[in-house]
Symmetry: C2
Subunit: 172 residues, 2 copies
Amino acid sequence: MELFLERGFEETTVADIAERAGLTKRTFFRYFADKREVLFAGSEVLVETFVNGVLEAPAEAAPLDAVAAGLDASAAIFEEMPDHAGRRQSLMVSNPELQERELIKMAKLGAAVAAALRERGVAEPAAALAAEAGKTILRVAFERWTEDPHGQDLRALMRESLADLRAVAAAT
Amino acid sequence: MELFLERGFEETTVADIAERAGLTKRTFFRYFADKREVLFAGSEVLVETFVNGVLEAPAEAAPLDAVAAGLDASAAIFEEMPDHAGRRQSLMVSNPELQERELIKMAKLGAAVAAALRERGVAEPAAALAAEAGKTILRVAFERWTEDPHGQDLRALMRESLADLRAVAAAT
């Protein structure tokens, strides 16, 4: 990611990345399908952590409370490396190709969370709706967090966004 | 789209499409950036219709009620051509490239609806949360509709999904 920030994402080649990391291009491609994947190396951990958070929520927790447990668990991943998150975000906003990949990763996260909710006995479409709500809360809170690194912590912003969503849904 | 269904999306070339439509390849590319775009020709109309529905909702309508007005307006587009929607969906489920493009179009829809809500005076993050809820309701209702073409109409399914979302958000 250093290289992307130094030279720009477009201008950085896989050969550059491999060189900096002391790898051959061939080894690089054993780990990453393409150079975009470098920025999404953590996405499987995110899915796993979120899903485990959902599955481990108390059996009596409502779908959105189970999602909140998944969000809580996920927040720790980002908070361990706040600089990384902010720098990554700055690359994302200026590159449509990266935004595309992000959308795909987020769609996979949504599908995995919906599956975890179904495993908890939540019926469709409630499972899909709650999972998508979780994805949205993650995105909204994450954006607010990276925009203001000296503001509230991510977990607090997630809880606030969840409360905002509940308020939006209740208003008629 | 006929060609995609006959031959498969992967196997159909732009030359094939242009020939069937009586166009040159050059003219094809004047209208579409690539062959995927053929299946998304209606997406600007969808965004416009949804956004207008939101903007034209009564001034006192709550954010999610304004979104519901946008959903109502959008339903008409799909219901005018139910076969098209179902056949398009059958192409989408088997092609990751098309799903990617769909995610991008849906992200644009979400951003446009959030902007329309802000124009109505809805603050962030409520605007983003309500817009994303609208996108989710559209997707969930649309999938249910194409899975069961003899079931409820799309508008009714959207209303039901909105009610489901409200119930999910209210449950604790």
